[in-house]
Amino acid sequence: MIEVENLTKRYGRTTAVDGVSFRVQKGEILGFLGPNGAGKTTTMRILTCYLPPTEGTARVAGYDVFEAPLEVKKRVGYIPETPPLYPDMDVDSFLDFCAKIKGLPAASRKGKIDEAVGKTKIGDVRGKLIGRLSKGYRQRVGLAQAILANPDVLILDEPTAGLDPKQIIETRELIKSLGGDHTIVLSTHILPEVSMTCGRVVIINKGKVVAEDTPQNLTRRLRGAGALRVDVRGDAGAAAEAVRAVAGVVSVHPRPESSEATTLEVEAEAGRDVRAEIARAVVGRGLDLLALQQVGMSLEEIFLHLTTTDTAHGEAPPAPAAAPEVTA
């Protein structure tokens, strides 16, 4: 549905987007992830024909954004970061205007507006001036505008920015429900949002794609060889020796926590679950097993890892947080 190839956008000397390529299949929800200033908005603006690319091509539903912008615009619903709204218009007349410029025929206009209002749950503010609405409602009016013409592609630039937690959940549900019928590209820097709503993630930093995969795969890939954290009470040396003897364990680094407790950082062979064996070995030596945890990288860490590699040069990579999977 969306094919982006080698897309580059330069503003004078600064390069905002640098050779970005990705594809989005029909009905897919793609998360576009990156720190502020990474080039997310610029890429989205090119996809919506707001900006022309400096180099490369972008095609939406088979139409080139540069060659056939009107055809692309007909098929794309878009909310920029700050929803473009006229504060001196009421919601109904704003949506009516949007329906007109989106070329909806007069006969179906009313029905489409009602449908969009229903989906975004803004029925109770229809007669109000947009300038008097809360941020959450404005965001939803912006969303209503985007889905009004029932476009094939929805491009949402930080659709949950500035919403309260309840509204965020509602918006995510809405976006999820729109997936399938619509192809969605959504940008965000809120990571749980991506793992909750998106089927695939493109991580972009400094205008370049640094990773592209499903959220699950990204997590798995970057978890590295299975790392474990084993807390034991008793003789640290004996514990390390016992763990090291377990088949599949690559290395063990004891780190004394207190006078009697020790934490062992254990690295096991990739794809091999050695937790049960380790537990048995420790207990078999007459030591107390306090905790046994698998250490994984959350999406946040992957993100930081990928997007701060040059700034963190020479420093240790971000410490992996413990994912509480097994606690003894």
Partner: protein, 263 residues
């Protein structure tokens, strides 16, 4: 067909802004008020003069005074000056405000062309300005009602046309200036200065002037009003105004398009 519908959607939206805010009411009020005042003064002067003329007539002199010449023509000229002040206020926000609010992104990503946006905004301003002219002309209805020998209607129509064309030149230029900035006050001030500049070009119209000055004077928007206000509809004047408008809109369109490239 769709093109017309899109232009109309923009016109409608701009009218909603004009009438949803005090702009339209203030513009209409100021225009009709000044029209009324000028009308009143011109009419009093006419009455005094014609009274004097009537006295002279008893001694066998003095031509019959024309309402067109004494009343309608001066009022039209005065209103042209008022247009100079009011038109920047009609156009200054058209693009500047869209850019400031970010709503230009909504228009630019909707399936409508830049030309349709520019035309829609221009026509919306012309529509309001036309309404102002019509509201002012109501004063003249009084003349028809009360005058013993009504004035000729043709110069009134051509005079109103002159006002409309002349003001539309400003509106077209104003739309262009509004695309240059995101601050509507800046757009307003720049437009006014530009209009004033175009206006003063007409002052160079002097029989003794050289060819350069003559050419400049020809570009002055006021130069082409004279005949129209007198009731002479000369095609070359109408063509001048229309080309001026097209040029203004062309600049606006180029500006909107080029900003995407530079953005």
């Amino acid at each position: 067909m769709t093109a017309l519908r899109n232009v109309w959607a923009i016109v409608e939206k701009e009218w909603r802004h004009y009438f949803g805010s005090p702009i339209a009411y203030v513009a209409l009020m100021v225009w009709t008020l000044l029209f009324g005042i000028f009308f009143y003064f011109a009419f009093s002067l006419f009455l005094r003069q014609s009274m004097m003329a009537a006295q002279q007539m008893e001694f066998g002199g003095g031509p019959k005074m024309s309402l067109n010449e004494w009343l309608i023509r001066p009022v039209m000229h005065n209103m042209a000056v008022v247009a100079l002040f009011l038109t920047p206020m009609l156009t200054m926000r058209l693009f500047a405000e869209e850019k400031r609010q970010g709503t230009i992104e909504l228009l630019a990503t909707a399936p409508i062309t830049d030309l349709q946006i520019v035309l829609g905004k221009f026509l919306a301003a012309v529509g309001l300005y036309g309404l102002m002219i019509l509201a002012g002309l109501l004063n003249l209805a009084l003349v028809w009602h009360y005058a013993s020998s009504p004035p000729e209607w043709k110069p009134v129509v051509s005079g109103a046309l002159a006002l409309l064309l002349f003001g539309s030149c400003f509106l077209a230029l104003g739309v262009f200036v509004s695309t240059l900035t995101r601050n509507q006050i800046v757009a307003g001030i720049l437009s006014f200065c530009l209009f004033l500049g175009v206006w003063t070009l007409g002052w160079a119209d002097d029989p003794s002037a050289g060819p350069v000055m003559k050419a400049l004077a020809y570009l002055g928007v006021t130069t082409h009003m004279e005949d129209l206000v007198k009731g002479v509809v000369d095609l070359k004047d109408v063509v001048f105004y229309l080309s001026f408008i097209v040029f203004g809109l062309f600049l606006a369109h180029q500006s909107v398009q080029s900003q995407r490239w530079r953005a």
